[in-house]
Symmetry: C2
Subunit: 349 residues, 2 copies
C-alpha cells in the first residue's frame, strides 16, 4: 500500500508530518511506501533531521504551499503545484492508494472533489469523525467539508456514514440521528427540520439502509447508542472542537486542583493509571485523521494542529480505509436508495 503525505500541511509542518511518517513506517508493515510531498529543500532537510530514508519513502517535489487562510477552491485552481494538489494527483494517477493532509481543510476537500471526483450518487463529500462513546464510536458527519449544507446532503452523509458504521465498526443496523437543539420531533432550524422530514419520508418508503432515530442532543453522543450523528459541516466542526476543548480544559483544571495540595498530589500519583487511560481514551491524537467520504480513492483530513502522534494515526486510518474499501458499497447503497426528493415535495405530500 502506498500513501501520499502532504508534508507542508498543518500548523507545525514539516516536523509533525515527518515524525508521524517515521513512526507509521516503524509501526505499520502494511505501508509499502509513503510519498513525502512538498518543497524539495524543506522535505530533504526534514528527512535528514528525523533520519527518514530508504526504499519505503520517496520525495515528490511540489513548489507551492496552500496557506491556512486561503480560499480552498481558489487555492486548488491557482496553485497547481501545491503540496496538497500534487499529493491528490498521486492518488488520481494511481501511484498512491490514499492521501493524508493536515493542511487547509477547504482546499483538501476541493482538491479531492475536483481531481478524484465524487462517487456515483454522491451530491457532496463529507468528513466523518469518530467520537468515543459507551457503545463504540459515534460517527459525526459532516465535521467541516460542507458548512452551508442542504438537507439532501445530510441524507447522503447518513448512507455513507452508516456503511462505515456497518463495515468498519460492525453495527448490523446502524442508528442514525440528526444533531439538534432538542430531542423532540418539532425542534430545530428550517434546515434540520427539512432533513428530519426527508429521512422520515424515505423511512416510510422503506429504503433506508439504517435505523433513523430522530433528533439527538449532545448527551446522546456519549450516553446512547447513536452510531451516526448527522450535521452540517459548520455545526459539526464547532461540536467537535468544543468536545476537544472541554476535555482539555477539564484535564487542565483537574491538574490545577490536584496540584493545590500535597495530599491530593500523592493520591493522584496512586491513581495515575486512570488518568493515563483517560488520556488515551479521549485524545484527539488517537483518532488522528478523519476520512472524507464520497470521493473516489481515500482522502484523510487531519487537524491543522496535529501532533506527530495524530499524523501517525491519520496514516493508520488511511491504511484501514484502503483495506476496508467502502466506496463500492457506498455507490451500491445510494443506488438502492433511489433519487432523493426535494424537501418542498416532501412537505407538500
Amino acid at each position: 500500500m502506498k500513501i501520499a503525505l502532504d508534508v507542508m500541511g498543518g500548523d507545525n509542518a514539516p516536523d509533525i508530518n515527518m515524525e508521524g511518517a517515521k513512526r507509521a513506517l516503524q509501526d505499520f508493515s502494511l505501508i509499502d511506501k509513503i510519498y513525502l510531498v512538498g518543497r524539495e529543500d524543506v522535505v530533504k532537510a526534514s528527512c535528514d533531521k528525523w533520519g527518514v530514508s530508504g526504499p519505503r519513502v520517496e520525495i515528490v517535489p511540489a513548489s507551492e504551499v496552500v496557506e491556512m487562510n486561503e480560499s480552498g477552491l481558489m487555492a486548488v485552481r491557482q496553485k497547481k503545484n501545491s503540496s496538497m494538489s500534487v499529493s491528490v494527483d498521486l492518488v488520481k494517477s494511481g501511484d498512491a492508494d490514499a492521501v493524508v493532509s493536515a493542511g487547509n481543510t477547504g482546499a483538501a476537500v476541493a482538491a479531492a472533489t475536483i481531481k478524484l471526483r465524487l462517487l456515483n450518487g454522491v451530491e457532496r463529500a463529507g468528513i466523518v469523525t469518530q467520537l468515543p462513546n459507551e457503545y463504540g464510536v459515534c460517527n459525526v458527519t459532516d465535521t467541516g467539508a460542507n458548512p452551508d449544507a442542504k438537507p439532501s446532503h445530510l441524507v447522503g452523509y447518513a448512507v455513507m456514514a452508516s456503511i462505515l458504521a456497518r463495515n468498519v465498526y460492525g453495527k448490523a443496523m446502524p442508528k442514525v440521528g440528526v444533531m439538534c437543539n432538542g430531542s423532540e420531533d418539532e425542534k430545530g432550524t428550517d434546515f434540520t427540520k427539512g432533513t428530519f422530514h426527508l429521512l422520515k419520508h424515505l423511512e416510510a418508503r422503506g429504503v433506508l439502509p439504517f435505523q433513523f432515530i430522530g433528533n439527538v442532543e449532545g448527551h446522546d453522543l456519549f450516553e446512547h447508542e447513536v452510531d451516526v450523528a448527522l450535521t452540517d459541516g459548520f455545526t459539526g466542526n464547532v461540536l467537535l472542537k468544543t468536545c476537544e476543548a472541554t476535555a482539555k480544559a477539564f484535564s487542565k483544571w483537574l491538574k490545577q486542583e490536584i496540584k493545590s495540595s500535597p495530599i491530593r498530589m500523592a493520591g493522584a500519583m496512586m491513581a495515575s493509571g486512570a488518568f493515563k487511560a483517560m488520556k488515551t481514551r479521549l485524545s484527539a491524537d488517537a483518532v488522528g485523521g478523519s476520512p472524507l467520504l464520497g470521493v473516489r480513492g481515500v482522502t484523510i483530513i487531519a487537524h491543522g494542529s496535529s501532533s506527530p502522534t495524530a499524523i501517525r494515526n491519520a496514516l493508520r486510518v488511511s491504511m484501514e480505509m484502503v483495506n476496508t474499501g467502502v466506496n463500492p458499497l457506498i455507490e451500491e447503497a445510494l443506488a438502492n436508495l433511489g433519487p432523493i426528493p426535494n424537501v418542498t415535495e416532501v412537505y407538500s405530500k
Copy 2:
C-alpha cells in the same frame, strides 16, 4: 424582591421547583416572595411534601401546562392559563420582578417576547449562558431562543451580552468573537460571514461598545479571554449541551477507570477534594439559569433537566439580574449604535 416560579416547568416538575424554591428562600434573604405558579392541587401537594409555607410564598393557580414538545408560539396563543403564561403575566402586571421557568424554552421565549415586549432597539431576544473560563466566564449568546438567526440579530446580542460582561462580570472593554469553524477571517457559513462583515463595518464606524476580536473556535472559549461568543440559537444550544455532555462523560469514564483498581481508588480518595472542586466548577447546576436578554423585566430560562440545585441557582440569577438592572443600559447602548445596516449593503461598499 418578588419572583414568579413556573412550578410545572421542567422534566421533573413539580418536585425540583419546590425543593429549589425552599432552598432559595433559606439562602437568599433578598427574596421577599416567590409566587408558586401551577395547577393548584399539584402545587399544594408539593408544598406539603417539601414543607414550604409562610408569608414568603404564594400559590397562584394556573390550570394548564405547556408540554416540552409543543410549539412555543402556539402554546402561548392557545394556553392562556398555562403556568408559564401566568408566571410571565405576574411580571407584566408588576406583581413580580422576575420569572423563572425550566419549561419549554420556545414557549418561555415567546411568552416573554409577546407579553413583556422587547426593549427599544432590540430585534430579537437571546439567551445568554456563562461558560467558565480562565478569565472568568464566556457569555455564549444565543443558546436557544433564536435557532434561525440573522446577522443583525447577532449584532444586537453582541451589544446586550457585552453590557452584561461589563456590568455583571466587570470587564471594562469586553472582547466579543463570532463562534466559527476556524479562526481565520475567511472561515464560516454565509450567515457567520455576514455577521463578521457587519461587525467589521460597525467597528470601522467606531460605534461598537466592545472590542471585536473576529472568529473564535471551541478552544478559545476556555483558554483565551473571550467575554462574549456570538452564535445562532441552534449552534449555541448544541455547543452548550456538548460541553455539558463531554464534562459528564469525562467524569463518568474517569470514575470507571479509578474503580478498576483498589490502589487507584485509594489514591482518588486522597485527591477527592480536587474532584469535588471540579464538580462545583463545571456543574451546569451551579449556573442554574440563563437570562433572556432583550425583553422588559427579567426572564430566566432553566434547563428542562434542572435539578433542585439548578432551580435554587436560577432563582439566585434572577435576583442578581433584578439587582443589576441592565435593561436601561442595553437600550442606551443600542441607541448609541444607531441603525444596523443590511448585510448586502455592507458587502456592496
